[in-house]
């Protein structure tokens, strides 16, 4: 019933890379990158003129390393162009645009040979959702997509191993597969990724994992190890959020070098493909150049290095600050409080977090030197001094 080979690419694409270049769409994006040893071990077929394919683990599905996240595209002509230049893997979700996104993908795919593309969708449900309800949602997705089956059906946005292996959801996925509604099952995760990936390796069942993966995780050894284990176990690995949000600062004045960020993710040979969200032809072409050349130029490496130096204001919750303060302040909790007030505009929550932490309004007053070394480079003392003052404000004045 299912074809497990490389999707067929159209015989005579009307829009190919050369045509793009003739139109001058992405002249800058197509500038040749300097060859880098970093990428040389990443793939077996690094001919710069050829698309690099990788296999999604034991699924046997071969896809170009650059695929397409469709969630923001409003124009089916972008999908058409993507398909014509060689992108074969399209990622959507049941909930995107309240279902309109799946409908658009379906309109585009309906007259394409079923073995010429790979389509994945994701379904986000509460943990206690019944098997029947889940399968109803699968049927709705299939109807919108105008296909008899999807290639990968993901549980959407999982961050808890318990949910991942909740009996009802596992049964629902098994049934969907048995009924031929999906070829493979997987889950997507953007939080607690390493633990979930490790759990999936240990317990089995899931065939593909869609995970956040970007240069900000470069020093996260847990994540690197988890990906390697999953790869070795034959789990297909798909990367998302490769641009780390696209901006380096809160004011959105400094952009991430998106092409470099995508290359970085793909230099890890365990990452089989990535699904950058593509909304324009310009973006499509820029991303597609990476499909045949993942070598990072010196400039691109420098851009990523500089990007890593931007600390921003968001605590990653790594908790490595735990126990570092000589006054035993709950640094991680206070950083969360800072985030609630300044990032989430939620002073009442910030106040409660500070009060619950049991600190005074000026907890660093008697300390000459801060002993906490934050991995993200936060000025811990400055942030604590700032946010702890909220304790002096009566709760009734805050919402």
């Amino acid at each position: 019933m299912f074809n497990t080979k490389k999707p067929k690419i159209m015989d005579k694409p009307a829009l190919n890379r050369r045509r793009f270049l003739q139109l001058g769409v992405a002249a800058t994006a197509c500038a040749a990158a300097t060859t880098s040893g970093m990428a040389s071990a990443a793939t077996s077929s690094e001919d710069k003129n050829k698309t690099i394919f990788r296999t999604l683990g034991k699924t046997g599905i071969q896809v170009p390393i650059v695929s397409m996240g469709v969630m923001r595209a409003d124009n089916p002509n972008i999908l058409k162009a993507a398909y014509q230049i060689g992108i074969t893997f399209f990622d959507t979700a049941h909930g995107y645009q309240d279902g309109r996104n799946e409908e658009m993908v379906g309109d585009f795919l309906k007259d394409k040979a079923r073995d010429s593309f790979v389509v994945a969708t994701k379904i986000h449900v509460p943990k206690d959702t019944s098997k029947e309800r889940f399968l109803e949602m699968v049927d709705i997705s299939l109807k919108r997509l105008q296909v008899d089956y999807v290639d990968i059906l993901y549980l959407h946005a999982i961050d808890d191993p318990e949910v991942l292996y909740s009996e009802n959801l596992v049964e629902a996925l098994k049934t969907a597969k048995e009924q031929g509604k999906t070829r493979h099952v997987g889950f997507s995760t953007h939080k607690n990724m390493a633990e979930l990936i490790n759990t999936a390796v240990e317990k089995g069942f899931y065939e593909v994992i869609l995970t956040t993966y970007n240069f900000r995780l470069a020093s996260d050894e847990n994540m690197t190890t988890a990906l390697q284990k999953a790869h070795d176990a034959g789990i297909g690995l798909v990367g998302m959020k490769n641009m780390a949000g696209g901006w380096l600062d809160e004011a959105k004045t400094k952009k991430v070098n998106c092409k470099a960020a995508l290359k970085w993710a793909l230099t890890n040979p365990c990452m089989h493909t990535c699904i950058p969200g593509i909304v324009s032809f310009e973006m499509l072409m820029e991303n597609w150049t990476v499909a045949s050349d993942i070598s990072l130029s010196v400039t691109e490496k420098e851009d990523l290095q500089l990007a890593l130096g931007e600390t921003g204001m968001f605590c990653t919750g790594c908790n490595s600050c735990s126990g570092q303060c000589k006054n035993d302040l709950p640094v991680s909790d206070l950083m969360r409080s800072y985030m609630y007030n300044y990032a989430y505009a939620y002073p009442a929550k910030a106040w409660k977090t500070v009060v619950d932490a049991g600190v005074s309004a000026d907890p660093c007053a008697n300390c000459d030197e801060c002993t906490v070394n934050c991995k993200s480079g936060f000025d811990i003392r400055g942030k604590i001094t700032n946010i702890a003052r909220i304790r002096s404000v009566p709760a009734e004045f805050l919402v």
């Binding site: 001058g24 909930g95 309109r100 997507s188 324009s280 007030n341 989430y344 009566p394």
Partner: protein, 280 residues
């Protein structure tokens, strides 16, 4: 309020938006937990990858309020998109073609367990669980009162109201930000589909800040397809777009009226004449 508190409140830049949101009361229902507030930095935690689309519509904040009545639940989501055009845009891109729209706020619709509407700069989504016929019942009654609380003078964006009615495909009028037709050079546009027995075309309208800005669009589009239009004057142009097919443009002042899709000259001319007249 004591002076100390005033001082501290001035020192700390607490967001007035978070403080100014007052969720509606629903008779017979009680609030379930605190109002959750999301910004661009954590919206992903609430709606996952869908957040990127919301960002493209100038997303500012989201307030989520939950209610319960026994086993039944209602969730109210209020998305602030900063201005009415952006709010209409995200509403329009999620609105099903089959929706039976009515005057809930500026416009809205409901089904059995959901109700969505747009008003002012807000896009509001309501969901119910285990409450029979909630859409036309408790959600609708709540939405009507709440919409008036959010915006006293609701209305759709002016260009939406100008779109000709004849042959208009229901619910096809949308606002697309930044990358209309997949081209960054085009920026944002309103669009609507028109269907006749001979085919379907899309009418689009771009409203720029100035005539200079509009003519730059026409110029860049020509450059994109490697065509020299000569001296640009207000009037009609044909762009042979390799991605989007033939695109007809009419430029006047700070407006560009355009058409893509099936080649329906009579329909096109009729729509153009009406839009030109209305935009004058």
């Amino acid at each position: 309020m004591k002076p100390t508190f005033l001082f501290i409140l001035f020192c700390l830049p607490f967001a007035v938006d978070a403080a100014s949101f007052v969720p509606p009361s629903i008779p017979g229902w009680e609030r379930d937990g605190e109002v959750e507030v999301f910004t661009g930095d954590n919206l992903y935690n609430h709606i996952n990858g869908a957040s990127e689309l919301y960002f493209s519509y100038n997303f500012q904040s989201l307030w989520v309020t939950r209610y319960k009545k026994g086993e039944a639940e209602i969730t109210l989501e209020v998305y602030d998109h900063g201005d009415p055009v952006q709010a209409f845009g995200i509403y329009s891109i999620e609105r099903p073609g089959s929706a039976a729209v009515s005057a809930i706020g500026a416009e809205g619709y409901f089904e059995e367990g959901t109700l969505n509407f747009v008003t002012g700069q807000y896009y509001v989504k309501m969901f119910s669980f285990r409450e029979p016929n909630a859409g036309g019942g408790v959600l609708l009654s709540t939405a009507k009162g709440f919409a008036a609380q959010l915006e006293k003078e609701p209305g759709l964006p002016a260009i939406v109201k100008l779109m000709p009615a004849e042959n208009l495909v229901p619910n096809s009028c949308q606002f697309i930000p930044n990358t209309f037709m997949g081209l960054e050079l085009l920026g944002s546009a309103f669009r609507a589909s028109y269907k006749t027995a001979d085919g379907t075309l899309t009418l689009f309208v771009m409203e720029k800040k100035s005539a200079e800005e509009a003519v730059q669009i026409v110029k860049k589009y020509h450059e994109f397809v490697k065509k020299d239009p000569g001296e640009l004057k207000e009037g009609s142009y044909l762009i042979e777009d390799p991605f989007n097919g033939n695109v007809h443009l009419y430029w006047k002042g700070n407006h560009i009226i355009g058409f893509s899709g099936d080649d329906l000259p009579a329909v096109r001319e009729s729509l153009l004449a009406e839009m030109k007249d209305k935009l004058n």
